[in-house]
């Protein structure tokens, strides 16, 4: 298990680095509005074509709502998306970690034996 220990340090270092990369721009670019780069893309479209581009199709939901999705609801939906993903990943790791923890010593989990349980996912 000494290999696992060295991985732990590596994982912490890597995660810290990832957070750092994500947070530094906030301080480095104070006052920037941090809009989406997708929007920057559409501005570039207007710049190249020289006119304000009119999208020929509006998102289905916006048509149904008769306007843009409220910002708070949009962030709700983004959270739902994140939540679904995190839930599945957490379930998966929970399953895998517990399997290893309760394994009888010397026993290796075999694919066919775990199949039934994993298949229920």
């Amino acid at each position: 298990m000494e290999k696992k220990k060295s991985n732990k340090g590596l994982i912490i270092a890597l995660l810290a680095l990832a957070v750092l990369i994500a947070v530094v721009p906030l301080f480095a670019q104070r006052g920037a509005d941090f809009g989406g780069s997708d929007d920057a893309g559409s501005q570039m479209v207007s710049e190249i074509t020289g006119t304000e581009y009119e999208p020929w199709f509006t998102p289905v939901l916006e048509t149904m709502l008769g306007g843009e999705l409220p910002g708070e609801v949009e962030s709700l939906l983004f959270c739902v998306q994140t939540g679904i993903g995190v839930g599945i990943i957490a379930f998966g790791f929970g399953y895998l970690v517990a399997r290893r923890k309760y394994q009888k010593p010397g026993e290796t989990p075999r694919a066919d034996r775990a199949a039934g349980k994993a298949g229920a996912v």
């Binding site: 590596l10 680095l17 893309g41 949009e74 939906l77 998966g92 290796t108 775990a114």
Partner: protein
């Protein structure tokens, strides 16, 4: 990846491929992060049709995984969930705008370049319908860049690194990171094809779009590489039998 495809499976992919060649009028669409209504209808259809064979191959691949490597399903589910999480996080970047990652590298490295196309299109549909992010008309183009071109690039790069005996963690990092960047390069080219600039044509326009996406995406691609490495370390620790089953880990121990 395990055994050769059966005749029926080959036939299925073959028929879809042929269909897609003729079905230029299919109401599908494509691409990640090209906004709704920003691609000419013709190009939407073309990208959608281009995606079909890959999606068909992906469906066959997933069916085979379900059948032959049932216990590895949990890894497939987790790879899909990884795309869900990663592509919902908008992260500030050095250029002062936000963007998000694709997360498709993980599934491509684990399951090969095709199955991820199906996972990717689920995420894109979710975002296009509920979040007005990307779009139904640009679904084909976005699927092509994020769920097909990027993952194929990532997978090829990973295989290359494996051949060259690069350290595994380093190869995973490179594959996921550059696969993410490649997705945005493809998006730029798709936009350039739709909006060639008057002065310089396709290339001038491509350079302009790359100028918008690339600097923003670079730090995010690095984050994606890091997260992919972290999650694979976790899987290597706890899911050795499954990884061996899908051929990711060959050697025992």
């Amino acid at each position: 990846m395990a055994k050769k495809w059966t005749k029926n499976e080959r036939r299925f992919v073959g028929v879809i491929t042929v269909l897609s060649l003729f079905l230029a009028a299919a109401p599908a669409a494509s691409a990640m992060h090209i906004m709704e209504g920003y691609l000419p209808a013709g190009q939407c259809a073309v990208w959608g049709v281009v995606c079909l064979p890959f999606l068909a191959a992906g469906l066959v691949g997933i069916r085979r995984t379900v059948k032959n490597q049932r216990k590895a399903l949990i890894l497939l589910a987790m790879s899909g969930a990884f795309i869900f999480v990663i592509s919902s996080l908008k992260i500030p970047s050095v250029t002062g705008s936000c963007s998000h990652m694709t997360g498709t590298g993980l599934a491509a490295i684990l399951f090969g370049p095709f199955q991820v196309s199906v996972l990717g299109i689920i995420v894109l549909l979710f975002q296009a319908i509920l979040l007005a992010h990307g779009g139904i008309t640009s679904l084909g183009a976005n699927t092509f860049s994020m769920a097909i071109a990027g993952p194929i690039f990532a997978w090829a790069l990973y295989m290359l690194c494996k051949k060259l005996k690069v350290n595994r963690k380093v190869s995973i990092f490179l594959a996921a990171c550059l696969g993410d960047l490649f997705t945005y390069c493809v998006t730029s080219l798709q936009l350039a094809a739709a909006y060639p600039s008057e002065a310089g044509g396709f290339f001038a326009s491509a350079v302009k779009f790359l100028g918008v996406f690339a600097p923003t995406q670079l730090p995010l691609a690095i984050i994606e590489g890091i997260l992919t490495v972290v999650i694979i370390i976790g899987m290597e620790t706890y899911a050795k039998p499954e990884l061996r089953d899908i051929g990711f880990l060959e050697e025992v121990g």
